[in-house]
């Protein structure tokens, strides 16, 4: 008499290479990062992997460091709590810290990791829009070696990423943000700690009332975070008046493709997201003294 699930293999490799070897040896095996999402899905009978490759024993995935070019690299196994308190993050990079602070709650932030979160990619999660707004780069290792890909390209579709078979996320790189820029994350959720009904992540820098850097991403309102670099480019170099703010908010709204779900209707998301964008942008500009 054997318990269902008793035959599942469990591995705790010490290096990324070992982990990759284990993944390629069994295509039913999956990475176990913090477990916050994976184990919840196993408990709910949603997935039944044939093997679990725990990444918790791989030290290089647990570090965060500043790179020579000023970028900050966050290892895939850094917990949300660590990123929420990350002192390496400066200026606009703090948009990622703000997002981490709003993920779930203390015990879950103690378990969940940035690598696990983005690899699973719930479109209503907090990291994706923040990483897209921060122009983050995702580091990936796989059977064919290492590669790096922009966060904006990493998120492909609902719950689908650019990760290929046997590949894993090893870290996230946040390029240095302009001196004096601000990074803010606004989240609307039914209750504290819920996934976002809609969210806005932005990085803004202004030099004497002129926008010198701008990146705005809307989360939870489309298969992937929505950004409008074309409109951002139009605004950069100009003042941030209401017309510009409206222009960007409306342009973002055009690209939304939200779903009806238990959190809200698609129609409400279309309605509220541009309102949140305008609000977040004006607030950020105010803190920079960029609006009279």
């Amino acid at each position: 008499m054997m318990e269902p699930g008793a035959e599942v293999a469990f591995h705790r490799p010490r290096t990324v290479q070992e982990a990759l070897a284990l993944l390629s040896a069994d295509d039913g095996a999956v990475c176990l990062a913090g477990g916050a999402t994976l184990v919840a899905m196993m408990n709910a009978d949603l997935i039944a992997p044939s093997g679990l490759v725990s990444l918790s024993g791989i030290d290089v995935l647990r570090t965060a460091e500043r790179l020579p070019d000023g970028a900050v690299r966050i290892g895939a196994m850094r917990h949300h709590r660590q990123t929420a308190d990350e002192t390496l993050l400066e200026d606009g990079q703090q948009v990622v810290r703000e997002a981490a602070r709003q993920i779930a709650n203390t015990p879950v932030r103690n378990m969940g990791t940035i690598g696990g979160s983005i690899a699973f990619f719930d479109p209503a999660a907090d990291y994706p829009p923040a990483l897209v707004a921060a122009d983050a780069i995702v580091d990936i290792s796989g059977p064919n070696g290492d590669r790096a890909i922009a966060a904006a390209a990493f998120f492909v579709d609902w719950y689908e990423t650019a990760l290929g078979a046997g590949e894993m996320v090893t870290g996230v790189r946040l390029p240095a943000a302009p001196m004096g820029s601000v990074g803010v994350y606004h989240k609307l959720a039914r209750v504290s700690g819920d996934f976002a009904t809609a969210s806005v992540a932005l990085v803004l820098a202004m030099e004497n009332h002129t926008v010198s850097h701008l990146a705005v991403a809307v989360g939870a309102c489309a298969p992937t975070p929505v950004r409008r670099p074309d409109i951002e480019a139009e605004i950069i170099g100009n003042g941030l008046d209401d017309a510009k703010v409206d222009r960007l908010a409306d342009a973002l709204a055009e690209r939304l493709d939200p779903v009806d779900d238990v959190r809200a209707s698609a129609a409400y998301r279309r309605l509220v997201a541009p309102r949140m964008v305008k609000h977040a942008l004006c607030r950020a500009a105010e803190t920079l003294g960029g609006r009279q």
Partner: protein
């Protein structure tokens, strides 16, 4: 519970176990070690009734795989009191009427214990943030906040 051999230090006691890869820490504590203080409320990491300390940090017992905790120190509600002497936070909950049905209490105490260890003079807002991952359907939360304020006062 066949398969992966490992050791845990549970409430100060070394325990050698062998578990299947999918066994959660909550199942191990409740079913293999007969420590039923941590509860299964949702088995999804939302309600917080299964919260335990792993290496000093509050985590979800229902989302932690035992096989992944090899060598870890685990503290459950059963490990908070010193013999018959309740810990400060336990005593404070008794004194403020913060416990009604008690089903969320084990997880609530674990979160509160870890929070008070790291925060000596908390504000109401700090407490609400730190405990927002532990749901209570009975109390309306106020008396739980009161109990943690009282505990902090007594420690100070």
């Amino acid at each position: 519970m066949t398969g992966h051999p490992l050791t845990l230090k549970v409430n100060g006691q070394e325990r050698a176990l062998s578990v299947s890869a999918t066994r959660t820490l909550l199942e191990t504590l409740r079913e293999d070690l007969a420590l039923t203080g941590a509860k299964r409320g949702c088995n999804q990491g939302v309600c917080g009734a299964c919260t335990v300390l792993v290496d000093g940090q509050p985590v979800r017992g229902c989302l932690s795989l035992t096989a992944n905790c090899d060598g870890a120190e685990v503290t459950t509600v059963e490990g908070l009191a010193d013999g018959n002497v309740l810990s400060t936070v336990q005593q404070a909950m008794a004194d403020t009427g913060a416990v009604q049905c008690g089903f969320c209490t084990s997880g609530m105490l674990i979160s509160a214990f870890a929070f008070l260890r790291d925060n000596s003079a908390p504000t109401v807002d700090d407490i609400q943030h730190a405990l927002s991952g532990n749901l209570c359907r009975c109390s309306g939360y106020r008396k739980i906040v009161d109990s943690i304020l009282l505990a902090a006062k007594r420690v100070a």
